[in-house]
Amino acid sequence: MKKTGAEILVESLKHEGVNVVFGIPGGVVLKIFDVLHQQKDVEVVLTRHEQGAAHMAEGYAKATGKPGVALVTSGPGMTNIVTGLADAFMDSVPLVALTGQVSTSLIGNDAFQEADNVGISRPCTKHNVLVKDVNDLAHTIKEAFYIATTGRPGPVLVDIPKDVSTNKAEFKYPERVHLRGYNPTYEGNKYQIKQAAEAILTAKRPVIYVGGGVLFSDASDEVLELAELTQTPVTMTLMGLGSFPGTHPLSMGMLGMHGGYWTNMAMHQADLLIAVGARFDDRVTGRLADFSPGAQVIHIDIDPTSIKKNVDAHIPIVGDVKTVLRQLNALLRSMNGNQSDLKEERRPWWGQIEEWKRAHPLRYQQDEKVTKPQYVIDKLFQITDHEGIIATDVGQHQMWAAQYFKGSRPRTFLTSGGLGTMGFGFPAALGAQKAYPDRLVVCITSEGSFQMNLQELATAVVYKLPVKIVLINNHFHGMVRQWQDLFYEGRYASSYLGKIPDFVKLAEAYGMLGLRALKPAEVEPVLRQGLEHDGPVLMDFHVDPFENCYPMIPAGGAHHEMVLEDPPDLRKTEKGTKKKVEEGEGVLPA
């Protein structure tokens, strides 16, 4: 019996094991929503904005490792998910975006709510396809999921014209995908792996530098084995947090622009970098000319374009991180007779790192009057013992969260790395909560980021997603203000947001619990009350508006050129701004 395109789509989703899609209906996808409405296997989460849907699908994918699915209408529905696609593309998030399109007979006619979905999304998707014939729909969906989840994962967009969803065809879901131009390399080159093993055993000051690829390849155990086998300290990129236990003695935490002093110094002094599923982003490397000047580089990545893009690799290994590390670990085990010797050999290196750490640990001064933002985050992690899933937004709070996070479970630190999308955190937290209704999901955000997607409070309440929002409220675009302090002589151009809105009332308006902590003494009680609450909660923490995030490698600086605290001549405020902040004024009048 023939099925309509909409039925074929929904059946295909079931075959792919999809049980939730995030989206908003509209003219050309009504048929698809109608079919979804009449079945129970695939649940629809109706979001309040398509951008929310895209980030929820990302949060779902980052937390589970399974592809997230967003379903939106043509024109503005599609253009609203572009940020989510670009974010997923940068951070290698497996995402399948299903977009409606005007009927095939109208394409190109400037029809109502028409946009060139495939053209707009081409530079920010791994692949995209316009389906022009209902007979092509099933295999296109199969291919979309295959491409999104294999190799270096990424977003795939399938554009479905209205008549394709209403036309009928025989449905047979293909069992296999054949794409003659797409064959990711999984196994590493044996000769290169041997070279790598020899380099690792002879290095005096090695560092393992891991990125998000470890999470998507599910290779945390292999990284742990490599680190212990070779007694090598491990640093994680922002995207890699959670892939190596933060409390492990070999963990050095995050590196890069706001990484630890000891971590960046270790990067600078290293004689061997073992880069695993990382791409030498500029926020990680700082000034390339002075990046790890004495280090040989082993670079393991499934994406050949990541290798030698920014930093030259002496031993490049293209392959799946998990597969390559298994090969490498097996070889190391057979080569390395005496592990305790290695531990002894590397003691001076580890001692040096410990010394750097003692000299300049992460620190903040909490007094009785004004809450420090780091204190809120530190307390949160103390109370939750780094359990639960953390989703962050973008800015100072994100960096503090990354600095203080010591979680040991993969896929528990969800953040927007490459694109740096403010507004990512809250919907991503909702997506993760949808995947794991019984786990603790905390969104660490700020008033600036949160207001970029706060409409999804409705989604949290309607779908009973008990996300705990920890809002670090400093009344500023904090990271912007920090850069203005450091590089623009304290002129706060368009960075002051004021004490608006009243977030507690906002939460209450959506029918959820809102809490506020104005003083340091209120922080812990509010956190405890919020975390114990049986439902979504918004906790508004008013913090020191002028706290800056350190260590910091200034833009264009190298790892050893970190700034560790506010320079003594720092102009803390532009004339009048501090007064306005203290008096609680709303927004700056013109």
């Binding site: 495939v118 053209g119 081409r122 530079p123 791994k126 692949h127 316009l130 491409i147 190799g151 270096r152 794409l179 003659r180 131009g181 797409y182 064959n183 990711p184 390399t185 080159n189 990545d301 499934i302 994406d303 050949p304 374009t305 030698k308 893009k309 490049p316 293209v318």
Partner: protein, 172 residues
Amino acid sequence: MERIISVLVENKVGVLARVAGLFSARGYNIESLSVAPTLDPTTSMITIVTQGDDRVIEQIIKQLNKVIEVLKVVDLTETNYLDRETALIKIHTRPEHRDEAIRIADIFRAKIVDSSPTTYTVEVTGDVDKVEALINLLKPLGIKELVRTGRVAIAREAAKASVRREPQAAKA
């Protein structure tokens, strides 16, 4: 340094846009481009002439390899190759110049493929130097219009063993 890259692709809508987009998104210019189906009508060959140092070209080739519909990428510059382009050149021909135009065309083994009382259209095929030399000689006569195909290139048979530039160039 000039590079000639041939890219075998699926003969499908949007593939050229994706390939061209890889260049424009990184600020690399395509100097010439030619696209046509191969013996197998489901595939097309794209020949791209571009400029770049080794690092840029390595990145371009890797990025091209990453496109799902790209089947094979060969940097012909790395090997011994033949390249040709065709130009159609419409020239003004006053009566006293008509013989001269034919003589120049003959020297270059070019053909007069269209003629009117005041113009000739000359067709020439050859490598870039030859085509440009002809254009330069015809300029004094007055070139009314000029179209060039962009280059196509093919590896010489004896050199084929070494044409694959990136043995590890897998997709991701």
